[in-house]
Symmetry: D2
């Protein structure tokens, strides 16, 4: 099955970037999308530190790490104001978008719906042509992730 | 220098307890007060898990672990609503009080001022007669903490 | 059931001490006996570092940490020569005795037999009057261990 | 500077393999050579577990993980007998060669000399054509290592 284009993100706010990021604007670069919630213990202890390590190890490569705050529970507890303080305290420097709420009032935000994510943390790898190449719910091994990212990077010309 | 009575807490809300806790009502029990902020990385990674371990290891002893949410920065980001979700997600089961804001508008809440805490996490040990026996800012070793708690417990009759 | 006197150790060599240690000579001090094998992964990763922490945290207390090399398998692989190098490389500074081999040729050394140890690591706590107060096979929590040691120390006069 | 052929190993014993491995016989496969000493704490705590993770994560790839016991100190303490027990207890399943001693009596074994290794652990990456592509003394990050291995694997045809 050929990989399909990754759905464009739907966001309401961005932090750590002067202007909103879109998948289209990132064409030509590998994208590691890290979907999280600031009050998700597995995200805080494991997945966010991993995303920070990826951003550091691949700092010179055509790779962009993007966070996505996909709040699907405790909505009043994880506002943009709280998220900003969280990112500041945890020294998260990569761009983070806020997933857009469901206009019909459901708990699952729109990008989370479009990718059919099962929860947080979710890791999404998108190649330089914008195609969805991997999506994983839960913890991912550093060795395997490094290998996958390198594979995608070597496709970039 | 003889230990002095620990200052009574000044709080606005309590979570995980049917009614507010006071030092006076806890007389006869050793009290481990754990002051934290929900967005303080050192609290989340180290001090809160330690407080949970203390609550579990000393479950049968006359010892009460009490959390105190001493917000001195990012006040809008760490509301009681956010704190409730945080405690739920991190499975914190011990009682947690919310330190009362300074009526004069300063950033440091009242109990934090009364104990002259330097930041979070801060650990406070109070003996069964209500006296302040130890106050420590930052990480505390489990072995040393276990020894100190046992020393205070053996004074209880 | 009243605690009984801990069996005296039977050893062939001592490292990190100018002369052999005996329980009798340590009367008046709390003794934490740490039985290990140098090729036991759980000993190396957990129990030996814990014994080192105990030695450091209680350096000023009437407490002696004693290692006991209770080799019950791979005897040719864990000689005294290998043990000396191991202790040097792992910066183990407390005294370590070598448990005496069974004269009848069985694999279990004599002190290990006398204490009916089930394997390594085994932790033994002996009070200042030489009585066996606790014996545990496997990992022991730092908080609980700190509490137990303090309880025994407070009995010393 | 073009990479040069990695020097062939000089060994006296092999464990976990029915016959000795040579670089020449491994041509066509990426080789990760992990040089260690069984009593080197950094090897035991970090580098050997990493080598085990690499062997597991890349189990289906044309990649061979090879251990090399490069004893340069405490020679009497780290015999082949001790090494066998060590590998058994630590569940190391990949092939391990024993570096050949210097016939002139120096402490540094021959393969360690040929690669000019500075100590243990040392990681060596050799491509499918037998060329030395990376040599690192000390800890190596899993993400970066995964990326490098994948880069070498993608060269294999």
């Amino acid at each position: 099955m050929a990989p399909t284009l990754a759905p464009e993100w739907q966001t309401t706010d961005w932090i750590n970037t002067p202007e909103p990021l879109t998948l289209e604007r990132l064409r030509g670069r590998v994208v590691m999308l890290h979907a999280f919630q600031m009050l998700c213990p597995g995200c805080v202890a494991k997945a966010i530190p991993q995303a920070q390590r990826v951003a550091a190890v691949f700092a010179d490569a055509p790779l962009t790490v993007v966070g996505l705050h996909t709040v699907f529970e405790h909505h009043d507890a994880m506002t943009v104001t709280s998220l900003r303080a969280f990112l500041h305290e945890y020294r998260v420097g990569f761009p983070v978008g806020v997933d857009a709420p469901d206009p019909e009032g459901g708990p699952i935000p729109l990008t989370m719906q479009a990718y059919a994510m099962q929860g947080t943390p979710t890791l999404v790898l998108i190649d330089a042509e914008g195609r969805l190449r991997r999506q994983a719910f839960g913890a991912v091994d550093d060795l395997a992730l490094g290998a996958e990212l390198q594979g995608l990077l070597l496709e970039v010309r």
